[in-house]
Every structure is written in C-alpha cells, then in structure tokens.
Subunit: 387 residues, 2 copies
Amino acid sequence: MRSVSIIGIGQSPVGELWEESAREIAYRAISSAMSEAGIETADALYVGNMLSGSLLEQEHLATLIADYSGLRGIEAAKVEAACASGAAALRMGVMAVASGFHDIVIVAGLEKMTDTIGKDTTAGLAQAADAEYESLHGVSFVALNALIMQRYQYEHNVPLDAFAGFSINAHRNGANNPNAMFQRPISRDTYMRAPVIATPINIMDSSPVCDGAAALVLTPTELAYQWTNGHHPGSVQILASVSATDSLAVHDRRDPLTLDAAVLSCERAFAMAGVTAMDLDLFELHDAFTIMSALSLEAAGFAKRGEGWRMAEEGRIGIDGDVPVSTMGGLKSRGHPVGATGVYQIVEVVEQLTGRAGTNQIKDARLGMAQNIGGSGATVITHILGS
Amino acid sequence: MRSVSIIGIGQSPVGELWEESAREIAYRAISSAMSEAGIETADALYVGNMLSGSLLEQEHLATLIADYSGLRGIEAAKVEAACASGAAALRMGVMAVASGFHDIVIVAGLEKMTDTIGKDTTAGLAQAADAEYESLHGVSFVALNALIMQRYQYEHNVPLDAFAGFSINAHRNGANNPNAMFQRPISRDTYMRAPVIATPINIMDSSPVCDGAAALVLTPTELAYQWTNGHHPGSVQILASVSATDSLAVHDRRDPLTLDAAVLSCERAFAMAGVTAMDLDLFELHDAFTIMSALSLEAAGFAKRGEGWRMAEEGRIGIDGDVPVSTMGGLKSRGHPVGATGVYQIVEVVEQLTGRAGTNQIKDARLGMAQNIGGSGATVITHILGS
C-alpha cells in the first residue's frame, strides 16, 4: 500500500453564501487547493456531500463540479455518510492513491444549505437518523442529540453549564479564523442565557446551518515533493484512515452514552498510525453539539465515561492545553456545512501541522487527529496526520 | 496493486416491490452474496444509490444497511453518480481491496422507487441532469434522451424502427431471467404500436421505474480460493475498472451524438485489461433508452458513428451474435432500479462467466464488459471481467 500525502488545501469561507451557487463554492475551494499543490489537472475528484439531492434537486454532483472546475473527463463520484460525508470522500481518495489507481486525487467537501428554494433543512438533516424508526415519528436531528445530552446529564449528574466550555473554546478559536462563520468570542454568561432549541440543547450548544466547501489534493508520499516542484508549504502524511459504524437509531445502541463506533475507529486508527492518544498534538473533533465533544473525548480515551465535559472546565482543550480541540473554531464557530465538515477538519489539521494556523497555532504541532461523525454516532471516521 | 476477484453475487427480483422496504431489499441481495461467498462478516460495505434522500428521506443509507444486514461496526459509505452509482460503489470497493485496506468488501446497489410517500420520481431522476441549466427549465430526463434520439434520427437519417431491435433483444433475453421485471418477449409490431412518452421515445425504448438491489463480495484474487473454502461456483477477476466523465448538460458537450466519456472509459479499460473490443464475449451496456444502446456500441468501437443501430437489425447483439448485449434483459427488461443497475450488470456478467446464465448462457464466455452510464452520458464507468 502506498503512503498518501496531502500537498494542497483550499476552503471557502463558511457562512450563508447567498450569492454563490453550490458549484461556485466548490470551485473556490478546489481551485485554491490545486493552486497550492501546483497542479493543473487531476485523475479523480471525490466529493463529500449529504443534501444536494434533497435541498438543491441536484444529484450527479461530483461530475458536475469536476466539469465546472475545468476537470472534464476525470473520474468523479459523490460519497455520502451523513455528516461524515467529507471524511468518507477522503477515504475513497486515500484508497485511490494508496492502491495505485491514481497519482493525483482531489477530495472536496461541499454543502449548500441556504437558498434551497423552499426545502426544509431540518427535515433534510433528519435524514441522518433512521427514517422509519426515528424521523417518521417527528424526531429531528437536534432532538435526538438532546435526548442523548439529557441522558448524560441524568446519568452523570453534571452541572447545568457542564458543556459551556466546549462552546466558549470553539468561539474563542473561531474568532481568529478568517473563514469561520462566527468570529466573536462568547462568555459563559452568553452561553447560559442562550435560547434553548431542544431541551437541554441551547443555541450555543449547537452548530449552525451554513454553506461551505473545502478541498484537498492527495498524492503518494513518494511523489509529494516532485509534484509540487518543492514550492508548497510542506506536505502532510496521512498516517491512518479508519471508518467504523454503529446503528443509526439511538435506541438500538448498546449504550447511548458511549460512541462505540468512535471507540472502534480510534483504536484502529491508533494501531494503524502506531501512536497513542497521548502522542497527539491536537484533536479536531466533531462538535456538532457540545454533547458530542464530551462523548468523543471519552471514546478516544482522553477521559472516562461521564467525565469528558471536565476537560473543558479544566482548561485542557485550549490551544495551550494538553488536548487542543476545535482549534480553528470547530463545527460550532467555524460552522458545519454538513458534507464539507470532514474536509474542513483535515484542512485545519494541515494548517496546524504546517505552521499556518496564525494566532491559533499550536507550538511544534507534528501529529493531529481529525474525527468526522455521521448521525448521532453511527458513522465515525478517524484520520491521523503527521508532518 | 492487488488484483481483485468477485467471490459472491446476490440479487433481489426487480419490480415494484411494494411489500419490502429499502433495507429489506438490500438485505436480500447482500445475504445471498455473503452466503454464496461463504462469509459471515466483511470489512466494508459500499452502497450505490441515487435517490434515497429525495424519494425516501433517508440518507446515511450504507450505515443503515450494514447494521440491518448484521454487519454493525464495519466501514460503510454510499456512493452516488446518478444512474452510474452502482458501478461507482464498485470502484470504491475495488480500490479498498486493491490498496490492501480491506480483504473482504461487499458492494451493493439499491434503489427503491415505489412506495415513496408522494415524492416525484420523474423530478428525482431529473437530478441526473444539470439542475440549474436543464432541469429548472422543465426538461425531464426522458426529454433529454429524446432530444438526443431525435438528433440521431435527423443527422443519420435512420428508419422509424431503427431502435426496435434493442428492445426486442432485451425482452427476448429478459423472458428467461427469473429476476427480470418483464419476462415476456415483444414483437416488432408491439414496439411500433407502443405509446410515445417523449417524442421520439416510446415506452418500449425506455427502461421502467422499479425497485431492486444487487450485491457482490470482493476479495484479493490471491485469497479468493481460500476465503471461499473452494466451494463457490468460480471466482471472476476484475481486469479493468475505469470511470470517465463529461459535462452533465447535453448542450455543453463537444458532440451530443458521441459519448466522449464512454470512448475515454472504454479506451482506458481495454488498455488496463490488455484486451480489445473484439476479444469480448459479451457487453452489458446501459440501455436506459434504446438510443443509449446505439451510442454505447459506437463509443466502444463496435460500430461507426451513426451505425450502432444497425447491429441490432443485423442480429449481432443476440446471445448467439458476435456482441451479445443485455443478455439477462438489460435495463429495459430486467429493469433499471437506478443506483442498483451497475451492480446488476456485474452480477449478470459473473453469471455468464461462471456458466450460470441458464437459457441465455453464452457458450464459453470468458471475457465480459459492463458499462454503467450516469445521466445522458456524463459519467461512464467500465468494468472488464474475466474468468
């Protein structure tokens, strides 16, 4: 198996991009990544996207974007795994390069959730859950996470502001990310006074509906220098790429408060990369809701069951902490354009590992992990990158 | 790169399966393929599907099906490339095994187009076209193919029944396929009297709306015998796997009467497999509309531009012809459950190459090609299999 490196990254700002269509947003990210990699074409484009069919009435999305990006002719496919679609597309890209099928692959993540001509975004997002056993009963995706958070509060008897630290950290970091949707820090008071959207989830526990695209250029590690003529800012190697799953329906899980798929995904990723959780310099976790941050930290082995929330309270997740998370704002502050998120996470880890994270730069960051979660924990894809 | 073999196939009957939900149809195909391969679990499941979001309000489909099939925990992702979604999922499976990431991969194709709770199937299928430049103007997918067919009639001055032979051949073969949706031969007279649905496409030129799922089990060729304990009916090797693209919008094409992506896809597949078109014992082409059969034969090099239709008239595409097509009924008679079709095609080539095609068996078939087309020619994925 060939080792795979990332030699170019690109991203659009995240936000309500009313003036740009899906293909235009994707093109911005792709052309930027291609430019950084110093390439003019590619062998394939894999696009992570969840909702183009439901919200934009556009499937066949990857081929459309390939053509619009000046890449007519190359292989193209869309990969979908709900909110983990971005990392799922990266999995396909990694395998395409690792296998030897392709030497230059572009992986993009894209979601366009505004300007959807009367489509229901909340109903769209509920498609990440089990349509027949959850959504048809009227449970939205926020409501499912709220049930999990409520159970966590009950079972672990945590204070009302237990999850505030995740939101505060995300907004503090997002304030320094020019591509973030929300570039303002928030206080604990702001968190505590935020309107509740599904008890106990308030608006500051929840990531926003938004548009955005991010892109990566992959090549075999052995060719990374050659393809980029030595002028790129530094390539980053993909040390592990692992996907694991659980039931979509929360009521079918072994334990609704343990992300079994994340445990599996992390264990395998650590083994593949030959590292432990303690070796990581940062962890871009999937903070679609603050409860997911706590559960992810627990599943990765940083905290015991029921104690993940303490890491935020103890200041361990900040840029100077021992496990920095959401270093460019995370899903909460940078934003969560669903199918694009997994690729944004990788872009941000690459920024950290190549010393381009600006004010949020983690000193001497060499090893980073990104974890993209589909649904309320049913698909968990973990990548470990090293520079 | 490891060579990849198919060690198990499975399929549901194609038709209006009102009494079965999407997950149940998929499970039938998957369990049947697993049983044939003699396996009880797998490393990954990739599902080709186009319309689960739009028609069933269910994304996150592959993880759902993995769980329902008793495979909780394994990697799962849905791959979408419009009507070429099935073969696109197979591409991901081939790369997963070829790269060494996985040893046992299940690839399934699934579409559920009936029982969709008031969703518009015609609008769903139009998502294979360019939403902003074609579909928004009211052009359905049938209408786009009709424009291409009309242009073919005009430019090549062909008789009114030029395409009848493709439909007659498909129905003749489908009559012997117990899984086909239509199991009755049709006459030329039936074709000529069929109601027109979008001039000049009549109902006998067009594949039906239907449900169905098909599945494959992949493993490295070097392990094929070992995994199956020597009791499977014979493994089939994937000699080439290639995807190529064109613009979605027909008006953007270099030539609306040449499938450029099919030309590219075939040329690369022939080179990868080290064979020529003339070496093939059968060609499962993508006869969503009879015009596509003619264009595919031309793109693959069997006929000159404007002369593909003659091959049907000259009796060359039947089971005993020199280029048998739609040998188990094709999209026209077996049916076209959109995202599943690409996998059905492979299942049927495997049946031919392992002597299990029954009445439709091609004598001494050793080399077969399957071609799955997304949209009206924008994504073309070609696989060449050998036994």
